[in-house]
């Protein structure tokens, strides 16, 4: 009885995993077919191993520039989120000033507002600031969207740290500000990794706001470059589309493999307890 139950469990999990992987496998097969093989003659599961698709996709699409743009936006935004978010969370967690409470309250209640709501007025503001079609502008928009959640996560974590950590440093004449940077900030690693994972992929993949703020082709990010490239084929040249999509997915999967060990831990420590 117990054996049968555990066998059933394994079977279910295997099926779920296969279901999750099928689209990726199909994409890989499509990307390796020759342009002539539109209809799947012969065995549809065995591709032609035609790697030229990747070279053509790389040079004909805008994917290289787009990946650099997405990477720069993601790194800049994450730096802003982590530095400003941790600083704000520290003073909110440690000092009961009335305006700290007010700021925290505003941030938390805005956590429920998705970015798309104020994208149009933000667009006019970005024009005034000359921030349209700039990577820094897009990075600041993405950082702002993620800021409330990061303050929330850092706040929960810092509150769980004992105050005695800084107090001895304060006795020795160190200021609260510098004891934050010297003592508390290096301890925030679990929260930092949770925030990087929760927001990093979303910023790299941002499409709904990139459509507004990055209209110049040279400033396109990855989803935009792919959508432009795909739309020009209007449903033809699937092998090229598939190859370019694979190119775009590979760095994301590599980053995921690098961070995934921290993902569960970061989520458990940071998001749930916070």
């Amino acid at each position: 009885m117990r054996r049968a139950a555990s066998l059933f469990r394994y079977l279910c999990i295997t099926l779920i995993c296969i279901l999750c992987l099928i689209p990726f496998l199909v994409l890989l097969i499509l990307s390796l077919n020759t342009p002539k093989r539109v209809f799947y003659e012969g065995n549809i599961f065995i591709p032609d191993f035609y790697f030229y698709n990747y070279i053509e996709g790389w040079f004909k699409s805008n994917i290289c520039t787009a990946m650099i743009n997405s990477a720069l936006i993601t790194i800049m935004a994450l730096c802003v989120i982590i530095l400003l978010g941790a600083m704000a969370a520290y003073t909110i967690a440690r000092f009961n000033y009335r305006f700290n409470k007010l700021i925290f309250g505003i941030l938390i209640s805005c956590m429920m507002i998705p970015g798309i709501i104020n994208t149009v007025p933000l667009y006019t503001l970005m024009i005034d600031l000359k921030a349209i079609n700039t990577l820094w502008g897009m990075a600041l928009v993405c950082a702002t969207n993620a800021l409330p959640q990061s303050v929330f996560v850092f706040h929960g974590f810092i509150r769980s740290l004992p105050k005695e950590l800084e107090e001895s440093a304060i006795m020795d004449g160190c200021s609260w500000f510098s004891s934050f940077w010297r003592i508390i900030f290096p301890l925030l690693k679990p929260s930092v990794s949770a925030i990087v994972i929760l927001n990093g992929f979303g910023i790299w993949n941002n499409y709904s706001q990139a459509v507004f703020f990055l209209q110049d082709r040279r400033k396109h990010n990855v989803p935009q470059a792919l959508s432009v490239y795909f739309q020009q084929f209007a449903g033809a040249k699937w092998n090229l589309m598939a190859a370019t999509a694979v190119i775009a997915i590979v760095p994301v999967i590599l980053a995921f493999l690098l961070f995934q060990k921290n993902l569960i831990k970061g989520l458990t420590d940071g998001a749930l307890k916070g």
Partner: protein
């Protein structure tokens, strides 16, 4: 309590608040003002009162967008939670290869939903899609339908693809919650003669409330503001039938109806706020039990 002098630490929240004010609060306020004008993005704006809001509720396309957005959310948010919780319960035991399976199930969630939409489009396209050829090879081509061409079926495809993509993310949060439940509680319930269903109802569910709350709220917000996957899978079509409110906002803004599009955004804000507040209140009351 030690005496705290005013110092740099007093003002540490200000940089974050300044950034937030410029890029979030100010546009939010500005949007309320803009929604009361007929601004087209270039010329002088005229105050038109609530005309934009009245126009919205008289526009069939807009009302259909509300229906589509709500249908998508009503399909997606509960299904995501049920599937995610189901996955988590399956995975919450000592089994080999658990880490690997968890990674694979989470994998779709890190890929851009726009790219995911294109991949599913390649799979499902009528006559040429991968699924059609698999069925054709089996001699069952008639099973295949032109699913992205009809309203009901394309809504179903959108919901299922969304659930497929984000079930892993929901699962991980439930899994973290399940692992925080102490095993002694199950033992105690067993001693009291609780069946496995009873243990699930009276031990697991009440202790999972924090995870349920995070998942329900994020899934409601995410599915009501869905954008990418609709753009790449159906493009809002056929016609405007599967267009969602967030796509409508973008198209109205590009269609020189800037003032109107901010009014739509404010309506969308309330459409999201109401279910979020209700679900937060419900999970709060339950947590007190």
């Amino acid at each position: 309590m030690r005496e705290k002098k005013i110092g740099l630490h007093t003002f540490m929240a200000l940089p974050a608040f300044a950034l937030f004010s410029v890029f979030f609060l100010y546009p939010l306020m500005k949007g309320i003002g803009m929604s009361l004008t007929d601004w087209d993005g270039i010329r002088q704006a005229n105050f038109v009162g609530l005309n934009n809001f009245i126009a919205f509720f008289q526009d069939d396309r807009a009302l259909n967008n509300i229906r589509t957005t709500l249908l998508f959310a009503i399909g997606s948010a509960p299904l995501l939670n049920i599937v995610g919780l189901g996955y988590a319960l399956l995975m919450d035991s000592k089994i080999k290869g658990k880490g690997m399976a968890r990674m694979i199930i989470y994998l779709p969630a890190i890929i851009s939903p726009l790219i995911m939409g294109y991949i599913w489009y390649l799979l499902l396209q009528p006559g040429r899609g991968f699924l059609y050829h698999v069925l054709d090879n089996m001699g069952k081509a008639s099973w295949f339908g032109n699913w992205t061409a009809g309203y009901a079926t394309s809504m179903l495809v959108l919901v299922l693809v969304n659930v497929w993509q984000y079930a892993g993310m929901t699962m991980v949060i439930y899994l973290a919650g399940l692992q925080a439940i102490p095993g002694e509680l199950y033992e105690a319930a067993k001693m009291d003669g609780a069946s496995s269903l009873g243990r699930f109802r009276f031990v697991t569910i009440p202790l999972l409330i924090p995870s349920i709350r995070i998942n329900v709220v994020t899934n409601i917000i995410g599915s009501l503001s869905v954008f990418d996957i609709v753009m790449s899978l159906t493009g809002g079509g056929p016609g405007y039938s599967t267009e969602t409110l967030s796509i409508y906002i973008m198209r109205m803004c590009y269609g020189s109806k800037t003032g109107y599009s901010t009014a739509v955004a404010i309506i969308m804000f309330f459409i999201i706020l109401v279910p979020v507040l209700i679900s937060m209140r419900m999970t709060r009351a339950k947590a007190m039990d």
